[in-house]
Symmetry: D2
Subunit: 296 residues, 4 copies
Amino acid sequence: MHIGFLGLGNMGGPMARNLLKAGHTLTVFDPSPLATAALVELGARTANSPAELARDGVAAIVTMLPTAAHVKDVYLGAEGLLANVTRGVLLIDSSTIDPLSAREVAKAAAAQGNPMLDAPVSGGTGGAAAGTLTFMVGGTDSAFDHAHPLFAAMGKNIVHCGASGNGQVAKIANNMLLGISMVGVAEAMALGVALGMDAKVLAGIINTSSGRCWSSEINNPFPGVLENAPASRGYSGGFGTDLMLKDLGLATEAARHAKQPVVLGAAAQQLYQTFSLQGYGGLDFSAIINLFRREA
Amino acid sequence: MHIGFLGLGNMGGPMARNLLKAGHTLTVFDPSPLATAALVELGARTANSPAELARDGVAAIVTMLPTAAHVKDVYLGAEGLLANVTRGVLLIDSSTIDPLSAREVAKAAAAQGNPMLDAPVSGGTGGAAAGTLTFMVGGTDSAFDHAHPLFAAMGKNIVHCGASGNGQVAKIANNMLLGISMVGVAEAMALGVALGMDAKVLAGIINTSSGRCWSSEINNPFPGVLENAPASRGYSGGFGTDLMLKDLGLATEAARHAKQPVVLGAAAQQLYQTFSLQGYGGLDFSAIINLFRREA
Amino acid sequence: MHIGFLGLGNMGGPMARNLLKAGHTLTVFDPSPLATAALVELGARTANSPAELARDGVAAIVTMLPTAAHVKDVYLGAEGLLANVTRGVLLIDSSTIDPLSAREVAKAAAAQGNPMLDAPVSGGTGGAAAGTLTFMVGGTDSAFDHAHPLFAAMGKNIVHCGASGNGQVAKIANNMLLGISMVGVAEAMALGVALGMDAKVLAGIINTSSGRCWSSEINNPFPGVLENAPASRGYSGGFGTDLMLKDLGLATEAARHAKQPVVLGAAAQQLYQTFSLQGYGGLDFSAIINLFRREA
Amino acid sequence: MHIGFLGLGNMGGPMARNLLKAGHTLTVFDPSPLATAALVELGARTANSPAELARDGVAAIVTMLPTAAHVKDVYLGAEGLLANVTRGVLLIDSSTIDPLSAREVAKAAAAQGNPMLDAPVSGGTGGAAAGTLTFMVGGTDSAFDHAHPLFAAMGKNIVHCGASGNGQVAKIANNMLLGISMVGVAEAMALGVALGMDAKVLAGIINTSSGRCWSSEINNPFPGVLENAPASRGYSGGFGTDLMLKDLGLATEAARHAKQPVVLGAAAQQLYQTFSLQGYGGLDFSAIINLFRREA
């Protein structure tokens, strides 16, 4: 299939490479010449603008952008994708943005005959490179079926979450819970150790009890509990605190519009914000445990 | 072995029965004649006071009491166990109390030559009846080894958590995390559904993603997601909100003494307290989701 | 002075009337014919659109609108004020919106030669009718001086808060603190009474001690403490819970953009949201105390 | 009057001096010889134990101790005051402790014919030295009237809060609100300044608006707003963060026993605990603003 790919950053770049590897042809666009050059080397064509990309005979377009403002601009702008794309071309936005914006853009696309899916991912840059991302997809059944081979080229776990916007809903609901659980594990581990327990013993008990969760089993925030977790290498790599902050902001904003209370979600957001203010926004989000431990 | 058992309530009663079943002989004490009668029928001897129980030639004593005040009274009181028990008799307290009190009592016992273990349980009244409780045990290696057959008669998962008091530490750390996770799952599920997702689809995504935890997988608070969870039967049965409140109170109090922040732990405690004040303290703690959902 | 007035709701209507009373002539616009008719009766001219109002020879325009989206639409839209107003006309927006939007609109106005002030108010519909509003004003000194007589016709306390947007900053910072203090007073009063104190005695002590604040002295949430407070008339009248929610949403959103933690601000927002979800959004915000009291 | 005074620390020492100045005779006790020596120099007699003090012909005894455990020990211990004091002697405890403990001790005193008042103070070491303390007093009318001259010698504002324990209730309710308000002011000031406002202008607006409170007017946490506040001298002096933590701990514990939610009270406690953990427990509690500001 001939695919347009817009947004070749840390996530978009490797995703586009996996589409090429799977035998698709690509036309790419990114404001950074370096980013496009890397794809051109692997055989992609380049476009000079979103409009040019949309007109390059593509059967589908994938976008991977930082914020809802970028997504709206790229799709709805006077020189944007919708104004230039052929009727019937499938549109896939893999950016993580708020569900309301996702639905607004998809509605405009559908109104002019372009099926659109919101398809945010989880799995990080590692998953993007390895082609093992999880895609949480919102949109019609037919668009989902149509897009499935593309997702399969870039990811491993592809979940249809329901109608338009529900991919974003699933992502922010899951990540809000993740952000809360991690603070919970951090507090429980720090408390247990302060009261005299060995961290590994405590983690072992939690992981076979009702406190167990992804954050205790896979990304335990206490240094030394898991050899390969960020906590055991100075909290480098992993999922950055500021990225968690972004997702928690999306969740609490969506909750505000839905008039839905998220008490611990909002509290977790404020704790990561406090930690980020102290200069640690670049560390894996499990580093939040340092807010609760006396410095060595 | 001849064992004294003190405290024959909803938990202690079935635990004592399982000791009898395993072939041990028992002398029991409880202020309620009905509770003792049930055990006497099964072959237990009865004592008229803790002091009498302590003097009845027992090789070990197990206690299961509601609060630290009861534990201190029963062990340290003028007419209590320590004042009457023979040197060398093994003491096991399975009450859930704060670690400081547990250590204080164990220290007094050790000082007069009675090894003592704190051994709070999880698994509820169902686990007590079935003999499948988890025991989280604090105390010396030799006391732990000595007591192991007794635990094995009453439970399935027996974990040595380290020195005296660490059984209690493990229990309150785990349960604080559990209390936080449940609120997190409740908020995430309520938010996702308010934003248009199907509850089962959302639970499925969370359970295969980084938000997964015991509360989402085993005790999901959204009605209808799990057929056998309390949420699907009006939140009856399960682990009561007021019991969760008790454990969160123990955790935040222990944190206060350890000068350890537990921000979400304290917030979760206050939410369950708010919910209990509205009259729902007897419902399974997953009912906390009703604080975040518009009434039908 | 000939003034355009756009937005004749519960606040804008009486504000416009006070400008008429002070001898100014008005051209008004509102989508509701009833709202405009009331002003026409008092001598105002009416316009059929914001564009027509802007072209009606006005020397200044005052707007009073519900949200930032309305403000942006009215000022920046193709048929909006900026596209139609004469260079030099003074623009005053008294809506309560986020500071970033206020600054964006004011910058666009300034760029085409129209000085603009953000001038949100406090004092409620009572203050609007009585002409005793407080105006918190952001913008240049000369625009502030120029607008002063208009503010003086509608209000009593007119404060220059600094450059563009700072009127909004002052309003949301103050109201966030107000929202927090009210919850604080509610918790303290409910706790004191639960522990056996008389509510009036407790309020008296707080009001002469370090806990005193506007919420304890002027709008005490405990029924019967102040004869004339909403708490003593079923929480009717006053400043609605949902209006407080709106302002807390503006504050936490502005904080998010400024990467500034507001832990208690966010917590207070979630509590009012929880209370509103239970169906009480129309009650004075002091009714939040009912979240902390067992129902009678 | 001949008075026994027990506890001659930073608060008790100057309080005892003011009783001497007012013409009373004193018998004092404190474990520190230095502390007693200072009072002996001013004419006080000294006792070698609480028991000896109680038997020294005193008409009233005042105690000023750090915790409820000390109070219970001193009053209820085998060698304590109640076991040795003459029937009818008036007992006044000015320690800040939980209301339940205060009521327990007062009840024991009353049962043997000794009227007892709980009378915690506010005003700090400065107020203790100047004799301008506020006394919040719980107990019977007759005991209050009887003790009034003693309070008047040590303080300025003497408030009868109702029955036994209510002095403590008033103190912890007020101080919980104070702890919340201070965090609220800190967040509002930090947010306003981050959004571009001048701190003094913002404080001025808040202090004439609905956000005004003791913490904004008298102890504003932003440096430079008030010349004489701790914030303008590196947060030295004032009311220490760890003392605020103690009072918040008493408030949340009392709330727990009363089954009363204190959501923001508990959140504020955790924030001060987090700040104390970072090493700042000795600074005035207004320094909590540094948790919300990027370090210079």
